[in-house]
């Protein structure tokens, strides 16, 4: 639905970038936020009656996997984009572990062009590789990748183990003023592991991935960032120790930020052996709860939430990692890591709001201005409803109850531990650059 102007009426507008939380209207014209205020009039506009809805900046995801090129049986840019839009996202950063990987301008260009043609109602920002082939041996041509439009650099699931090489990568990234988005994992400590190295691993007789595998790399990365002045963003932080290390680094004024995923905030290692959807199965070995970093402990969740509330952690990322069914319908130790996360992110996070763990405004900041600040050097216009910024808006029905049915998922990856889960809170609409990308049928629109 293309329209020159849209007027959102009577929404509760929450824009943490401006500290706004009040009931008013938003007028969108020519793809930009024109104004916001009470009783706005726009005779020619499409009117969205948003009574009872929250309107906030469109969500930004710093970490997802769209799988194309190379793994189209898991997801395509088009299917991933559709799922992201349904989840309220207007900007997503896709990781470079495709085949071929995004380690040169040509593949980055392919992703951008495919996104522009197949997924025009969302902004897809590719993340380029730190090393060629994500092999951890030689740096990519990082300035060429930057020119090709990469929003960050990461080798994601194959993090650079060689600290000297990582130091050089950070020097280059610092010069380009583009963030390094690092997946922190000491591969020697995690090798052969499939879940958190805790009591469930001992119970199941499966090698665990210790918290230290993440924390040692968090500490290393911070030391290197401190040396180089690189913009360092630590993604999908999962342990209490990591939160403590990051908190002290930020207290020293370093340009370090961190995100956490909805699943690490809401599920523990115990989800692998017990599913609320199948309470009669005594040891479920649920491959849909297999993810890297692994689901940790209740104490870790508590620390992550504390980290959110004291602003140590300022973003949520989905780490949307769709897989084909055969990647998960197998032995736990052979199953792929990853959770299909776009379509449940907001609803899963709302459980924390409903239980009083975090405030709604905090949650929205984690999804909007938090991640936007990581991208600000290149993409400063997102994550806000300020007049003149790109009109990316999410409409949220925070009290709507629904149950996740995988048959209704738009992502090709149905691999979610939230299958059958009852949620309260859903995304009711997504507007990208002034165009309605998705709108739930319950929302009243008039012209």
């Amino acid at each position: 639905m293309i329209s020159k102007s849209i007027l959102i009426k009577n929404a509760r507008i929450i824009d943490p970038s401006q500290g706004i939380d009040e009931k008013m209207d938003i007028l969108i014209e020519d793809g930009l936020i024109k104004s916001s205020g009470a009783n706005l009039k726009a005779p020619a506009a499409v009117i969205i009656q948003a009574d009872g809805l929250v309107a906030c900046p469109g969500f930004i995801d710093l970490h997802c996997h769209l799988r194309e090129p190379g793994f189209e049986e898991k997801e395509t840019i088009a299917s991933g984009a559709a799922a992201a839009i349904r989840g309220g996202y207007t900007t997503v950063c896709c990781m470079p572990n495709t085949n071929p990987p995004l380690d040169n301008a040509a593949t980055v260009d392919f992703v951008r062009k495919t996104a522009a043609s197949q997924a025009p109602l969302i902004t897809v920002l590719p993340v380029g590789c730190i090393t060629k082939g994500r092999a951890g041996k030689e740096l990519t041509d990082m300035s060429e990748l930057a020119d090709a439009g990469c929003a960050g650099f990461s080798d994601d699931g194959s993090p650079v183990s060689n600290s000297q090489l990582m130091l050089l990568a950070m020097r280059c990234a610092a010069g380009l003023e583009i963030p390094i988005i690092d997946h922190c994992e000491d591969l020697d400590l995690s090798r052969g592991g499939h879940l958190h190295d805790g009591w469930v691993a001992a119970r199941l007789g499966i090698k665990g991935i210790p918290a230290a595998a993440e924390e040692t790399m968090v500490a290393r990365d911070i030391a290197l960032a401190e040396m180089t002045g690189a913009i360092l963003h630590l993604t999908h932080i999962s342990t209490r120790g990591s939160v403590d290390i990051i908190r002290s680094a930020r207290a020293r004024g370093l340009k370090i930020s961190a995100d956490v995923t909805p699943h690490h905030l809401t599920l523990t290692e115990e989800r692998i052996i017990a599913s609320p959807a199948e309470p009669d199965v005594p040891l479920i070995y649920d491959t849909n709860a297999k993810v890297n970093p692994p689901l940790r402990t209740a104490a870790d969740i508590e620390a992550l939430i504390q980290g959110i509330n004291d602003k140590t952690i300022t973003s949520v990322s989905t780490d949307h990692a769709p897989h084909a069914s055969e990647d998960k319908l197998c032995e736990f130790e052979l199953a792929a890591f990853g959770i299909s996360g776009f379509e449940t992110a907001f609803a899963a996070l709302m459980t924390l709001v409903h239980s009083g763990k975090i405030k709604l405004n905090t949650l929205i900041a984690l999804l909007t201005c938090g991640p936007a600040s990581v991208l600000q050097h290149e993409y400063g216009i997102t994550g806000t409803l300020k007049a003149g910024s790109r009109a990316d808006v999410a409409l949220l029905d925070i009290s709507r109850e629904w149950t996740l049915d995988e048959a209704n998922m738009l992502s090709q990856g149905k691999n979610t531990p939230f299958k059958g889960q009852q949620f309260k809170g859903m995304v009711a609409g997504t507007i990208h650059a002034g165009e309605i990308a998705y709108i739930d049928k319950s929302v009243r629109i008039s012209k």
Partner: protein, 340 residues
């Protein structure tokens, strides 16, 4: 979930049945045998009562009874095994069942057919019970969610080996009688041992005190918490073998795989022997009538010395014989009794 057997179950084939125990199988509620964590003490007693009858059958000149005549038991092994596989197949044959054995090297899995497909094929071939061994922990648990055919777990990864747990406990019980206050020491690679895990579950509520004795590198990080979370308060962890052996009644060294040295879990085989080998000198710490057991296969001269393995305190061969009886009992309960 699993159906409760009624006392009025149809009688099994009766020829030669006079040797079989009375069927108080109303207690039995397992369509599958995956681990001992969901076995009640009464169910374990039931298995042992039936095994007593099987021991008697095994002592006969003609060992074959027709109890499972017309039933087919498939053994599907994704991992090499000599004794467990032979034990299950003989158990099935002694009960008159037909057996089919499938060798599914792990490489063939990588080639294409998934575990679930292989099992569904067996199910479509109308096999009555599948005995499965798999290098991945939990493989049979994944399987039962996609199958109607009964599954017996013959060892999954480092997770569980319920028939071994039962035969160990059965051997101990036959030897010691009253188990209250008795001390069992399981020694060695606890981290990678499905035998240790199933023994822990099986020995719960028997009165046995279990000491896990291993190098600090071979106890999983989460083990103490696991024991706590699972209410396994009959188990303690002790790294010093001499202390562990003090006053012990049952000594069970585990096989030490040589690869553990390459992975750095132990510094050298020599060091392991020095600290953890069960030998006659060490045995003096245990009670004079202590028994020695081993799940096999043994590395003689590594975790156990030759003289101890073949001493009068060794029950290792009895374990093997009892293993057949226990597996006969399990097959009888799983394949021989019809679900309603």
């Amino acid at each position: 979930m699993e159906k409760i057997m009624s006392l009025n179950e149809p009688k099994l084939s009766t020829a030669g049945q006079e040797s079989l125990p009375p069927l108080s199988i109303g207690l039995w509620r397992h369509r599958n045998v995956l681990d001992l964590d969901d076995f009640s003490p009464e169910e374990i007693t039931l298995v042992f009562e039936i095994a007593n009858g099987m021991v008697e059958v095994l002592a006969r000149e003609v060992k074959k009874v027709p109890t499972l005549r017309g039933k087919t038991i498939a053994t599907l092994f994704y991992e090499p095994s000599t004794r467990t596989r032979a034990s299950f197949e003989l158990a099935a044959k002694y009960l008159g069942a037909d057996t089919v054995s499938l060798d599914a090297a792990r490489s063939s899995v990588a080639k294409g057919e998934s575990l679930i497909d292989s099992l569904r094929t067996l199910q479509a071939l109308e096999v009555d019970t599948i005995v499965i061994r798999h290098p991945c922990s939990g493989a049979p648990y994944i399987a039962v969610r996609h199958l109607q055919t009964s599954i017996i777990n013959a060892g999954d990864g480092c997770h569980a080996h319920p028939s071994q747990g039962l035969l160990d406990l059965y051997t101990i019980k036959r030897q010691l009688g009253d188990l209250k206050g008795r001390k069992v020491v399981i020694i060695g690679d606890i981290m990678h041992s499905r035998v240790a895990r199933s023994n822990i579950w099986g020995m719960r509520s028997t009165g046995l005190h279990v000491v896990l004795c291993a190098p600090t590198t071979l106890i999983p990080q989460g083990m103490p918490e696991m024991l706590d979370k699972c209410g396994l308060d009959h188990v303690t962890i002790e790294h010093n073998l001499d202390r562990a052996l003090e006053g012990s009644d049952v000594i069970m060294p585990l096989r030490l795989q040589k690869e553990r040295q390459q992975s750095g879990f132990i510094s050298s085989i020599r060091e392991y022997i020095r600290l953890y080998q069960v030998n006659s000198e060490r045995l003096k710490k245990a009670r004079a009538d202590a028994i020695v057991m081993h799940p096999g296969p043994m590395n003689e001269g590594v975790e156990i010395s030759h003289d101890v393995a073949y001493s009068s305190s060794s029950l290792i061969e009895q374990q093997v014989t009892n293993g057949v009886a226990i597996r006969m009992a399990l097959l009888y309960l799983v394949a021989g009794v019809k679900n309603q």
